[in-house]
């Protein structure tokens, strides 16, 4: 009788994510700079989750506020089809 083959899961090695604000010591996120905030939104203009950008919770909240302010003064769109 054939023995069932054992599968060993191969771990996927990814570089560790880090919070760019903690790493480079940025304490204030400027809402008047849409080019910088582009790193935290997808091509539809939606906020990217923390699990993708690696931002810490403290700064994710600040990013969210900055993006919303930036949208209000019409420097970033609320909805977009293809912005990048």
């Amino acid at each position: 009788m054939a023995k069932r083959q054992k599968y060993t899961r191969v771990p996927i090695i990814r570089p560790k994510k880090y919070c760019r604000f903690k790493k480079s010591g940025i304490k204030y996120i400027d809402y008047k700079n849409p080019d910088f905030l582009m790193a935290f939104i997808n091509e539809q203009g939606k906020l990217l989750p923390r699990r993708i950008t690696g931002t810490s919770l403290k700064f994710q909240r600040k990013v969210a506020v900055a993006v919303k302010r930036c949208r209000h003064i019409a420097l970033l769109p609320y909805v977009a089809d293809q912005m990048k």
Partner: protein, 141 residues
Amino acid sequence: MEKTHYESVVVLTPVLSEKMLQDAVSSFEKLITENGGELIHKENWGLTKMAYPIQKKTTGFYQIFEFAAEADAQIVDKLELAYRRDEQVLRYLCIKLDKHAIKYNERRRNGEFKKAKIVDTTNAAPVVEAKVTPVTSEEEE
């Protein structure tokens, strides 16, 4: 008591003439200074393209004020009321600045961020050229 710092962004209609724009800006400035506010910085971005149309207009004059005032002076209320009454204003935003924001704005005013960018490009440009030239010569050989 220490004064609170505020920042205000106003988007004005693009149909204004140069003089009307200056009049509007100076009237807001006057409102700030008359109500016990201390104008720290003002910035005019000129005609800027907006990310989406507001009142069927795709561009706007962006004007930024940074000012300090007593927290109980109700200066922001008065300023926002003036913005709402003014038909030339497409959008406005008034926010309170925290200590990090004040520091950031000071550095921004001194042009630290702009300088950093300029330094980067000047350093990068010769390096790129130096790398590119030997590669092309090898390909030719």
